[in-house]
Symmetry: C2
Subunit: 256 residues, 2 copies
């Protein structure tokens, strides 16, 4: 016989409220840009106490479905923005001890395709946006230079005109950030090599040469791997460790 009783789950009220609000948003009754009613009003309508409403609001807020625009009091319904969503994924991957190798491997797979699509679908606007990201190339400030590398990929994905790709890529960029800083810090020729590769990719995209864009991007990503190795970053290590190590390289090399 099958089990006669399954664990019946009673949701607390705050979760039901959150679910109800989420449903209103996903089904479109509440649209991005709409203002939510005041907490007391919501409490009255849903028949629960304001505290309960507030707990539910925090839930939606952290999911990016609600935000308060600067200096406003009422909450506004909003589409989760890309960075916020990605940072949740980033945190999750960090806690799951994702390794540099895994992230790198995924980039190997995504980026060349992104470059290819960018070359095929470029528009004057996306190309100039891409060009604009080169301004900070080879920047003296290490953090700035690392940020520029990520920015380049973001602009590339924007040119590829695929939101799903852009969002898939974002956590990778965030995760690689700290390792990238270390790479640029430690490997002297990194700045120029990165800039040179970016220029090659940019040129290929500009003239719509998809094959070249892909090829150069492949090389570019492979080059990152070489850089990581040169910088002494253990690819098998979880990202967190690789990043943290870059902050205290001296202490690590000193024995004990």
């Amino acid at each position: 016989m099958t089990e006669p009783f399954v664990p019946l789950k009673l949701e607390p009220a705050y979760r039901k409220v959150a679910a109800a609000l989420t449903a209103r948003i996903t089904e479109g009754t509440l649209q991005p840009g709409d203002r939510l009613p005041a907490e007391l009003e919501l409490a009255r309508q849903l028949g629960v106490h304001r505290s309960t409403i507030r707990e539910a609001l925090r839930e939606l807020e952290s999911g990016g479905l609600l935000r308060r625009e600067r200096g406003s009091k009422l909450m506004m319904v909003t589409r989760p923005d890309r960075l916020a969503i990605a940072s949740g994924v980033t945190r999750a991957l960090t806690l799951h001890q994702a390794t540099v190798a895994e992230v790198w491997e995924t980039m190997t797979l995504i980026e060349p395709e992104v470059a290819e699509l960018a070359a095929l679908r470029r528009t004057p606007e996306t190309v100039s946006a891409l060009t604009a990201t080169m301004a900070d190339a080879e920047h003296a400030d290490t953090a700035r230079a690392a940020a520029q590398a990520a920015e380049f990929f973001r602009a590339l994905a924007a040119a590829a005109a695929n939101n799903v790709l852009s969002l898939s890529q974002e956590p990778l960029l965030q995760l690689l950030g700290s390792s990238l800083v270390r790479l640029i810090e430690v490997v002297p020729q990194a700045r120029s090599r990165i800039a040179a590769a970016q220029r090659r990719i940019l040129e290929a995209v500009e003239r719509g040469d998809a094959a070249a864009a892909r090829t150069w991007c492949e090389k570019h990503i492979r080059d990152y791997r070489r850089g990581f190795e040169l910088a002494g970053i253990d690819l098998g290590l979880p990202i967190a460790a690789a990043g943290g190590a870059s902050l205290t390289p001296k202490t690590r090399s000193r024995k004990r």
Copy 2:
């Protein structure tokens, strides 16, 4: 001169509390599996009211950093689980009106690579897990059959032994779910074609033939596209519309 005053942001207490707790978790002071102190105790330690603590907890909870194990009272620190994280991304992409075409394109890019890696890194366990997913293939229940298709890809990614890939793939599977149901509902030969392709991929993975695995997977994904077209799913349409239409075609047309 530069602006003398930047908007100074004062965070409400509940967010500071959330940030403090998050920091403890990411830095490792609180490890997955640890139990959080009681709310009153936290309130005492942090010097705020219990309501404030509770709002912060909801924030972490919805981020997947805290969970309560069934029938327990204290919260437990936990690693965000893959499905939960992905569902946030899924919701975001839905709200951003991601199209079937975008999702499909991203799968085109990821899955063949996943298949290739799976063939290279397979172990007896992952292969048998992959085989096990075939049990539900060609299932009469449409929803079940669609779920099986997603399950197959999950097992494939597991065989590829890359957590980042698995997680990147998950939102795509969730997004495609509803369209997939529709596809299988409408296109009679879909079940057998899907099963056949899966068998081909599985065989290639089993014998470690990376090239074949990739090729068959590419064909498989291309076949999905054909299926979508046959099923009359407009690839340019946002996912929500494509899926929603299949779930409640009657009610939608009656709406007001």
